[in-house]
Amino acid sequence: MLIRHQDENPIVGRPEPRWLRARRLAAWQRFQKLADPDFRYGQGTGFDPKTIRLPYQAMTRGEKLPAMAGSVPAGLESGLKAFPVSELDRLWSWHAATASRIRVITAAKDEHLKSPLRLETKLLSNKSAQELTVVNAAAGSELAIIEHVSGAGERAAATFVNAGDNAKVTIISIRDLERHSTEFVRCDAKLGRNARVVWLECVLGGSFASSSITNRLLGRGAAAVARTIFCGSGSSRFELTQTAQHQADTTSSDLLARGVLDGAARSLYRGHISVARGCPGCEAHQKEDTLLLGERAESSAIPILEIETDEIECGHGCTVGRLERDQLFYLMSRGLDERTATKLLVEGFFQPIVSGMQHFGLEEMVSCLIAGQLAPATSYPCL
């Protein structure tokens, strides 16, 4: 199944329902009231907010709520109910009020969608896109979504997942935007009893890419997995957040991010695991690794743990480092040139995450996209 969206083809909607108008209005009021997101997280971590172009910058405070631009698919109201606008910051309030391309993907009770849904989005220059995707996976259902975003432009996209009891949802997102693009991506999942949500994300290029994955484990035995690859060169900047909130017993989460930064690329990773009081038997792990290839590349990590119960197994870690010189020397002594050897090592570095996409036939595509991000061998004097 293939759902294709292109910039030049917006869907013109029917009359806006009252509940949606009320939600958009509440979001718009928040947008008018709140301060801009800061992007700075203390102790020299984060980005200077003045250097980040927010997608609503052309708007001024005091403007009226714009008219609804898209159509209203079935299942939107029930899907959004679990995600009130009162939890959104200024950027996402603006998004909630103005999102125009709305998709709802629904899997009925015990329905297994055998082949993955493919969503293709191509941005066209100088246009901004506000996408909203709602996934309603009813109890016992199973579905997978593959999203590929390419092109150049400004993008703000939110995905809300309601995973019912025993539902299994896999979402793969591959985003290779061109150099001058900016994107803000937000993924939120609420997991019921024994539900399982897997996020596989590949963020490549762009001048600024912000991505946040939040899993709320609300039902006993729920499990969330998040895997993020990020790779950039030039002056690309990445802000990546992975969150797991354990609010029921015997829930588990596994967060992993791996990145390679070339040129003067910069990254900030924030991992956040919280286990609420009275939720025993939880298991939570988080790991982030960054390789710095470029001489002016920089990387920061803020992995946070907040644990309020003792019967748990929990750990986090982060590393920032360079390619192993011994490994590079070994490969070059076998006749590989430096560029090929570096690419091989970077490929190996990403393998644990890329192998998760094998089942969907995406491994080769992702490897090629990553290789395309790396600059020629002359830029690695450190090696």
Binding site: E298, S300, P303, I312
Partner: protein
Amino acid sequence: MAKTSRRSKNLISELDRPDRVTAGYSAGPGLSQQVVLEISRQKNEPRWMLEKRLQALELYQHTPLPAWGPDLARLDLEHIVYYSRPDATEAQNWKDVPSDIRRTFDLLGIPEAEHHALSGAGAQYDSGVIYHRLKKEWGRQGVIFENLDVAVRKYPELVRRYFMTDCVPVSNHKFTMLHAAVWSGGTFIYVPPRVKVTRPLQAYFRMNLERGGQFEHTLIIADEGSEVEYIEGCSAPRYAASSLHAGCVELHLKAGARVKYSSVENWSKNTYNLNTKRAVVDRDASIEWLSGNLGSGVTMLYPASVLRGDRARSDSLSVAFAGPGQELDTGFKAVHAAPGTMSVSRSKSLCRGGGTTVYRGLVRVTAAARDSKAAVTCDSLLLDRRSTAKAYPRVRVDNNSSEAVHEATVGRIGEEEIFYLRSRGLSEERARKMIVGGFVEPLVKRLPLEYAVEMNKLIELEMDRKVA
């Protein structure tokens, strides 16, 4: 074993009990310019120090409380007594120290330890230093070990050059401003080039006054190629009202110097311990931090190493134990600002009875610090369901030839570990204590013997304490 345990219990209850000592001078509650002028006048300080105090006071009055970290709302800064000098002058012989003041130090065995194992010892009571002595052999080699109040007058150039300048600037945060305005007592150590002080120097700080504030300043300058070990211990009696400890430790390590700084802080449970400790480390020098944080209601303490010389090294090991009602917010900061620098930080925390431990750390590798390495591990052990462990580390690397690693785990004592020890005939309580003992052992075995024994006992007692 039962006998030693009973002795330790007595010691702790004795330390929690205030001494019946009359103050020689007390500034009364609250902070004003008059209090600062009076402190400076009583100490007969040079003009530059008074100016520094007044500038700090001005800054302090215009700076808000930190918006992050533990809640400081119950810290009543209006009613703290910022300066209280005991009715005793500084002695060079324990016999000359008034017996009611000496009681605490006798209980801790400091005079005995000084005789057998130390190169010198100092003791401070509230705002005043009541004892200070350095063994003659070190004095002959040019080592200076003084009460900082005395050092300001005796070695003005050294103190003026290093006191709250480039290590901990006055404007660092609200409590360094407060400290700079009302600091009193503390230790000044200068070790000349290539002198290796083979036995440790020690200072002990006792805060006796209700609603008291203690603001001692430790300034250590280890000149090129020198070595010194310094140990600090702290305690305070238990009152209904909160007291405040806002000390400051500045360590200057010149090229090739080695300094080992150990501290065991056991403030009573109503003390706000808002301390600042930092070392600036030059080329090939090496700093070792050991710290045990047991007492206090709220602690905010993040020792920092600024590695500014090539190949400078820093090693830190700390243990924090939070019992009922305690919030220990501790951590370690390493700033790598020169090539080939290395830092290792290990932090261990335990909490029980609803206590909270927080690790808040920073590793910053600048673009200039090529080929540097930084490693941080922090492990938390939750001893019951009501307690909380949090970790907020930050890692930032700005060059592509360095490596930084951070790792943290949170867990509880495994059932199988308890089962194994019980199958060897130990009671469950004994087994739990033994596992906790093993958890903190890396710190304990590196502390001087008398501190190691006390540390073990304090942890056992904390585990025995009934939940309030």
